[in-house]
Symmetry: C2
Amino acid sequence: MAGRGGVSTGVNLGALRSHNTALVLDLLRTAGPAGISRLELAERTGLTPQAVSKITARLRLDGLAAEAGRRASTGGKPRTVLRLVPEAGHAVGLHLDRDELTAVLCDLTGAVVAERRAPLDLGAGAETVVEGAAREVETLLAGSLKAGRGLGVGVALPGPLDHAAGVLHRVTGFPEWNGFPLRDVLARRLDTAVVMDKDTNAAALGVAVREPHAQTGASFAYLHLGTGLGAGLVLGGSVHRGARTGAGEFGHQVIQLDGPLCECGNRGCVEVLCLAAVGRGDVDGAARVLGAAAANLVALLDIDEVLLGGRTVAAHEEAFVRGVGAVLDERARRAGADRAVPVRAAPGGARGVAEGAAQLLLGPLFGLVARPMGGI
Amino acid sequence: MAGRGGVSTGVNLGALRSHNTALVLDLLRTAGPAGISRLELAERTGLTPQAVSKITARLRLDGLAAEAGRRASTGGKPRTVLRLVPEAGHAVGLHLDRDELTAVLCDLTGAVVAERRAPLDLGAGAETVVEGAAREVETLLAGSLKAGRGLGVGVALPGPLDHAAGVLHRVTGFPEWNGFPLRDVLARRLDTAVVMDKDTNAAALGVAVREPHAQTGASFAYLHLGTGLGAGLVLGGSVHRGARTGAGEFGHQVIQLDGPLCECGNRGCVEVLCLAAVGRGDVDGAARVLGAAAANLVALLDIDEVLLGGRTVAAHEEAFVRGVGAVLDERARRAGADRAVPVRAAPGGARGVAEGAAQLLLGPLFGLVARPMGGI
DNA sequence: CCACTTAAGCAACGCTGTTGCCAAAGTGCA
DNA sequence: TGCACTTTGGCAACAGCGTTGCTTAAGTGG
């Protein structure tokens, strides 16, 4: 309770219409190629069948939806199945990692229709990186001619940054990026809408969209262990970023007050403990440390699921999933919970961040709205 | 991004109307006795002045709003000021603590118009407690005759519990409460609407409503240190409870992996470290430990403000505020933040929880909707 | 006294989802 | 094959929302 769940502004008929339209589009999307009938849409939205008929008629007119066969009859006229037309729109997801660039072109369903990878040096200077990234995007788009309109480019990169302003802060190891307005620069260069976010948030968003069960307001954490350790938090169905896009600072959670000194200046951060264990080949120890911090997070936020990703995890996937899961099991059992929170490797793999970045633009179409500080 | 910010259901004209009405009511409430003019309402809501005129006309007809003088002219007809009529509705807030009961009667603005306190033994058995609480509520209501309609009773008590189902879990120290459907029992007994929540969540809600600046989607944490340690989290303007009302489990955050054994079975929980320090008279030490855990929370969630409450804090308010603030300052400086997150004692004092409990019912009137798993 | 400015309501309007009704398209039994 | 029945889905009329255009109320300032 508390919080108008978002909308802090008045709603007129136009807003009402686009809300309901987005809602229907979202149901069409989650229904996938199997499609969904008008009456099911009416049930799920709570709108009258007639209202759904009107909305879907508009969508078909706009080319966003199409009829796709019919269901078996249950004694009367069989239901007509509708589906989303994936080609009606496209978005680019751009993942700028420390040493590599990944760009994907996604259709409306979020499926990747084209992909490019290239080496990248984030330290090469802003102009060089922007120009290189812009060219990659252009060749990606040129390579695959599209009928549907382009929605823009979503950029995901290591934080800290301000996603609302589209400005980078002191990217660890690359001080020259501090204050660079990447979003606006790239938007001018490519002449499209550009949205920016932290890589961990993009990954979490990608998972949230991909997993139908995770959409109804569930909470999960995406923990990314690569050269550093960070988290993307989805709380109550939406990515929680905080007012300064600072949420998800998971690596420097202190779990051992008198532990070893971390480069951040604190003692006993998860990151330093975890990476030290990995460094000496003690993967199980690293997993246990990660598990302890994850258990804190799960308890604090009542998380439904923990997803692990990142290169270090990928290198020892089973060991990490098992190790983290064991700690969570132990803590859950002690707390008297019915069942422990499930842990698994994040789907999507190395491409997951780029796909999530594309969702930064696809999301709003389906009512998954950008919420700089509170959302719609 | 991701998450439709709440509404996962279709919106028709009725819903639109009540949304806008609630929005206007909320602005009237936050404006306080000073009131607000129609044109200001139009600006803040984004609606046309004419729409605001219609909405406020309805509210005045329903007795919820009234004209209250006029502003100074700026060269033309002066603006008419509108204000909320506090007496138009009332809600009861009931705080069941381990050894004491507090019941308050609040008007629409959340102001306390009547209050009762009584000793309570949570271990006396469910029926005894329910009957005692019901009688307190009845005498509270009988003592102050009300014109406006009663909205119901909000109950706040120590967790764990399920606020959506209105059922208690294993309340620490009182196993007989496990599974007791307190909300429904009390609702039948009193024949009113009853809403239930954890005491920490109620306290956080109370603060969120009271502080105007905290409403626009800000995030803050209410840390309660009494016989135990818990937290109420307001993220992006709404109380975050999690699917099982488990969020806010702050006391058993592990911050010292090899620390002393806690009664929960883990080692190095904040609670055991903090209470041990308090026990040996080391308030500063307790504050530092609390600060370390608070700093973790602030970093993880990008919290805007930390509020401290509870008996133990109240006994050494300055020391705790200073000690926690010092740790947060230190961590913020190391992280290179512009300014540290402010820390202060929670307003409302001992009555804060009961007032927040009343807000469980007042909130929905103003569009601060219950969100079992996602909200409006 | 008069021109001007600002606030607020009335009336007509466009658009939303809703309601009432009917045509279309099946099933199942005689 | 025919007919009664069920279910789907669109057409038409409708109520209600906020919006637009205009008028009236109520001030200021020269």
